[in-house]
Amino acid sequence: MDAFTSHTGIGVPLRRSNVDTDQIIPAVYLKRVTRDGFEDGLFSAWRNDPTFVLNNPAYAGGSVLVAGPDFGTGSSREHAVWALQNYGFRVVISPRFADIFRGNSGKAGLLAAQVDEKVVQRLWDLLADQPGAEITVDLESRTVRAGEGVDAIEDSFDIDDYTRWRLLEGLDDIGITLGHEADITSYEAGRPSWKPVTQHA
């Protein structure tokens, strides 16, 4: 996984709460067996609507999505994260993320930055006034910055320490865990014999 320190890109306002995983990518798009190509399915139902934000050329090439609360509820499909990444998003900003979505983002290298609801409202206002404005998300200092002068927005975002460290270092979880293999082996040796197995010798 690539290390993530700071990212600056065009902000895309998604003025909706409770954006569930079926909206991010409907199940019919989940049939691929690779990790790429899911951008077609991203927000597919809404993309038919010419007024949908991703169809607005001002936000073309956007890479920082600014969404309402409870983003990513529903299914465990990591395809939701891949679809956002395949489309070009590096960061999603929201006042509240669903747990599984947040976990999946951390594993796949998409930054899920949790901010105060007021910050989202200010970013939405800024992006409506100045479509195409850029947002900087700095993981090192955990800050979100956008705009200039009196309207400038600068605030902190929440992310747990461990996910932040892994993203900054670009570390692969499996590699870290396999470093503790001796602990796993000794745990296995102590499991009760009546625990179920799926294959019998």
Partner: protein, 477 residues
């Protein structure tokens, strides 16, 4: 200080714990299906890694398999590739697989309990958010993403930060005709879809203890619909009786040792939960959703709400959008909402008790001529059991479609989908926009409401049905 049930199960699985890092948890059972696993196996292959514990791993095909013509090659080439990929991966990595056509095939959350693989005190994961179903046995069970699937395959562990604990206590007893599904829909409307965020929830109290294992699975299944990490119920005699004698249940001295341990899996009297919700089952009624998330529900006897009924500004906007998508007018009595398709099935309500209850209501009656009723058993075993009991005949005589096992219209990945604008009453767990097919409109309902709705063609409960000349009973055991 005492510990809660979930803390006890958690502590028993900690492989490694360090301040400031998530715990490394051992996983007792890893369930796999065709949709969320291909990229995980691919990752293993690229890194030259093996599956650490194939003997704690089980795969089946459920999400995109057809429920008609399942003995023929799958018509949709992309679905076929996904299923073929699972078969190749299972073979290459030595994983036990129950493919389409196998007697143990079915929805992964129906298959685990039915085989007796789901037992109290376990940690169970699957690349599917409704893994919470298995919590009904007193297990910590939750859904994971594909990167985590790969992690479990390679290490049989997961890194997890310890969630907070919540108790949902349900006092009283459910009135006749009100089910576990109504109970959980009522709870979600009460808490909102984000209410459980960050918690492992323990469902407890007399109304929970009175539920059958199948009812408990229905409740735990929908834990994720109000945002909970997992939901679980302390194991008791009902749990032990359900497990005993199943193919993978412990036997002989192992059984005694297991039960002795399972009996210790209860929240201590002096344990403290971080949060508590208390509800009264005796005032619950049949409950249905009107909107596009599982928290947007009302009693069947109520009307479609007005956006202005909501205090919160976000909730108002969400209600407006939901009403527009659902094609509903505020103030319309729910009972007047006309339904095109009724779906009975899914890991929420696709088990044998569900089908028996549906058949009992439907027997001797006919499905409304403008309404389609699709009955999809949760597994091949459920299907065969239902056929042994003659339930299939009851459904078919009433004019319903009797299908093969799988997820089917719950998520519409196979050909079973709603058309744009088509309205369903569904016993599944999600009413998101487009969940059952692009433009489809879903009302989540219980089994009795689904059955009565199929007969009347509008959202209904069995109390709305004309009495039959002769009362009937269904099921031999």
């Amino acid at each position: 200080m005492g510990r809660t049930l979930s803390e006890k199960v958690w502590d028993e699985h900690v492989v490694r714990s360090r301040q400031g890092e998530p715990d490394l948890l051992f996983i007792d059972l890893h369930l796999i299906h065709e949709v969320t696993s291909p990229q995980a196996f691919d990752g293993l292959r690229l890194a030259g890694r093996a599956v650490r514990r194939p003997d704690l791993t089980l795969a089946t095909e459920d999400h995109n398999v057809p429920t008609i013509d399942w003995d023929k090659p799958i018509a949709d080439p992309v679905s076929r590739t996904q299923v073929d990929t699972l078969r190749r991966n299972a073979d290459e990595f030595g994983v036990r697989l129950h493919p389409l056509g196998d007697i143990e095939q079915g929805i992964v959350h129906v298959v685990g309990p039915q085989l007796g693989l789901t037992q109290p005190g376990m940690t169970i994961v699957c690349g599917d958010s409704h893994t919470s179903t298995h919590g009904a046995f007193g297990a910590i069970a939750f859904g994971i993403g594909t990167s985590e699937v790969e992690h479990v395959l390679a290490t049989q562990t997961l890194m997890q930060a310890k969630p907070k604990t919540m108790a949902v206590t349900i006092n009283g007893s459910l009135p006749a005709g009100v089910t576990a599904k109504d109970m959980v829909l009522t709870l979600i409307a009460h808490t909102g879809t984000g209410g459980g965020q960050g918690y492992i929830v323990e469902y407890r109290g007399p109304a929970i203890e009175e539920l059958s294992m199948e009812g408990r699975m229905t409740v735990c299944n929908m834990s994720i619909e109000w945002g909970a990490k997992a939901g679980l119920i302390a194991p008791d005699q009902t749990t032990f009786d359900y497990i005993e004698g199943r193919p993978e249940a412990p036997k002989g001295a192992d059984w005694d040792a297991a039960v002795e341990h399972w009996k210790s899996l209860r929240t201590d009297d002096d344990a403290v939960f971080d949060e508590e919700v208390v509800l009264d089952a005796s005032v619950m009624t049949p409950f249905v959703t009107w909107g596009t998330n599982p928290g947007q529900g009302v009693p069947l006897g109520a009307a479609v709400p007005f956006p202005d009924d909501f205090d919160d500004a976000q909730d108002k906007v969400a209600a407006e959008k939901a009403l527009e998508y659902m094609g509903l007018t505020a103030g319309t009595p729910m009972r007047e909402v006309k339904v095109d398709t009724v779906f009975v099935g899914s890991c929420t309500n696709g088990r044998i008790e569900d089908l028996r209850l549906a058949a009992e209501i439907i027997q001797g009656r006919k499905v409304d001529p403008d309404t389609r009723l699709l009955v999809v058993p949760g597994s091949v075993r459920v299907r065969l059991q239902a056929q042994d009991e003659g339930l299939d005949v009851i459904f078919k005589e009433a004019g319903a479609e009797w299908r093969g096992a799988g997820c089917s219209m719950c998520l519409g990945m196979n050909p079973d989908t709603l058309e744009p604008g088509e309205r369903s009453a569904s016993t599944s767990n999600r009413n998101f926009e487009g969940r059952q097919g692009k433009g489809g409109r879903t009302h989540l309902v219980s089994i009795p409401v689904a059955a009565a709705t199929a007969i009347r063609g509008t959202l209904s409960s069995p109390a709305d049905l004309e009495p039959l000349a002769q009362p009937v009973t269904v099921g031999s055991n």
